[in-house]
Amino acid sequence: MIYMLNNIEEIVRKLKKDTKDSDDIIYREKYINRKKIYIIYNEPLTSSDKISDFVVRSLNKIKSITGLGLYKKIKNSISNFKVTEIEDYQDLCFYLHKGFTILLIENETKAIALETKANLNRSISPSTTEDTVRGAKDSFVEDIQTNLGLIKKRIKTNDLWIDKMNIGKYTDTSIGILYINGIVKEDLVNEVKKRLSKINISGVINSGVIKNLIVDEKVKFPTAQTTERPDVVSDALLQGKIAIVVDNSPYVIIIPALLQDFFKTMEDEYGKDTNVSFTRILKFLAFMISIMTPAIYISLVTYNQEMIPTDLLVSFAVQRDGVPFPAFVEALMLIISFEILRESDLRTPTTTGSALSIVGALILGDAAVNAGIVSQIMIIIVAITSISSLPFTELEFINTLRIYRLLFMVGAVFMGMIGVVVVFIIFIIRICSIESFGKPYLMPLVPINLSGLKNSLIKLPAKLLTRRPEYLSNNTIKQRSTDDEE
């Protein structure tokens, strides 16, 4: 509804009624040339230094003016760069809640909003969840402008385009969609914008909420990456991906994310190619071990005893003698207790954290064996399983592993090795059918893409990595070239 701003008293009264006369909103009256000016600002969000510096001082400089030009004079003489004109009541509230100072001038149709936001952020500090040994240590904070600044500091070009949106009925969170024009594919951008515009939600607390709303819900695997580090984001942008920065959240969403992205870290850019390939293959092995080990053990011990060498079989039999539970229940119990340990490890304060986990792991395991509840080999299996799930940075990914691990165990307990094979096929079918924003999840393996393969599971020397993979970008111009060719 458009309220005429002529009657500023009425507006002030309406404002006071809508905010229930809250003490946080300060109304200051000022008279210039017998014209009344209201200075309205939201105290927790604004910094009083800025208000007194810019607003009041500039206003004091304005001396006698004829009545009609007061507005223009004020507008021109305010020594604050970000000056916006408001025309209706909605905008007034919007800017008030953003930390702007509103100048209501009597008998004018427009009002002025000045940017006087306070800095309520923490300083840029190293990331707590993602760590590199040799990389840059700064990480995102909760303010969207600072985050954008950290990215723009690294990609200094006109082609870095930002589309802004506001989402959330009560939170009105700003969201920035970043991409590099010329590298990214058009339809990807359009798809992302389309999905974002469909969101109709009452509040956005952090980026995770948005991420869950725009990715495919039925898929258990993570199809978007979240990161706290600006160098990861810049690298992704250079590949042709899209980054979504959400206000009040230090986690930036990167779209699209394929399976290979969860095996890569920023370390790869700094290391030698063979070492990097080795690490990636190791991570892949850890992935497979983490999913399949309990299931394989259960099927070996209960269905397919012919696959174990005789000595090992005798040793297993001696260990399992006297254990009251069947193998599946044993494995389930241990895995659940290990997961509980892990969760509690995340929540306890760091002072008591490490001691408790040592207590938990060692003593729980050892004591359980001595009490005759579980067998020794099961402790080892569960320990290997859980440790193998730790090399991955993305929390979502680790959680997905848990689901599939359980599924494999169920398959093993019902049909032994054949059950594991059947669940394996189902697992592969599932991965093959996932698409992250239109790109098959298993690119570049299936469908095969040679330029993408050069940097996926193994990393070839930098001299050979000269093209961007086509599935992410149409701009496959040589990225790295030591010759003088173009």
Binding site: I425, I428, I429, S433, L445
Partner: protein, 360 residues
Amino acid sequence: MKKINSLQLTSMVIMVIISATFGKGFYTLVKSSGVDAWIGVIISAVIGFLLIFLFLYIFNYEPDLSLPEKNKKLFGKTFGTIINYLIAIIIFITSVSLFYDLIGFISSQFLSETPILFIGLMFVFVIIYINVKGIEVISRTAFILLIISLISFLIGGIGLLNNFELLNIKPFLEFGIQPPIKGSIYILMLNIMPTILFLIVPKNTLVDNKKTNTYLTFGYIISMILIFLTVILIIGNLGIDLTKIYLYPEYIALKRINIFNFLDRIENIIVIQWIFCLIINISLSVYFMTNTIKKNNNKLIVYIITLLILLASNVVFKNTTLYNAYVYNIAIYFKYALLFIIILISIKIKIDRMKKSKEN
């Protein structure tokens, strides 16, 4: 329109050709040719080129249409539909026997006490799942499963090569060239004929259709090499007498693998490649049948067809003796019928092309 790669199509074809070697293919080959089975493989590989050429000829005609649509276009609506249904019925019969192969193998070697129906139900679920997702998922899965199969084949091959004795495949051609030719016919019909399945994909939906012909030929050569290696390694390892009396000599031969005294008892892992190939074959057959009946995957039809396969394989084949007799004597006539249909189609294409060039 979702697109698949010609590399994925080739991997599907390779798996289809290899899958029949396990179980019925190997049994008929050894029973008919004896020690000279490997010569039979070579002969069939050479003659098989003609068949592949025929298939590619049909494939390249009217690249926008899949095989059922091509039949309708060539022969008119009614006659074309009749031919389509004939092909679909023959493929149904083939997949019933393949399914019985799979279930019988697992039931006799691994899960002897589980009722066969339930094991079949497990695999029915997998096949329904993969068909509901569509052809691109089938092809992607086939590609990944092919890589795993090749790796396990390599390990198995190296293990068997250690114990290979040349004496086991002598004497050469004791009874003349007749038995290998008979065996080669079996391979031609049982292994290579099912390649008709790939014709369900119209050529233009492939991403890189220029290369498809070369890829498919290479795929055929690779699969024939694999079959040859399988046959010669198994007979060379076990000797012809043992091969003839065992029920699943391909599996038993793997029990002998003992690499560095470390990779012992891995026969269960290596035999997984057969399970993969059989599953892809049956899934592709189901896809073929559903697309013949109605285009664009109708889920209900998928359910019905797969469950029919399960029921038929339980009811028709009561025990292995019946099955072996069927495979040795009767199965081949169905394939002859299929061959006849294929030749009919290609002749009609040739006539149509000549008519068109006359008109122009």
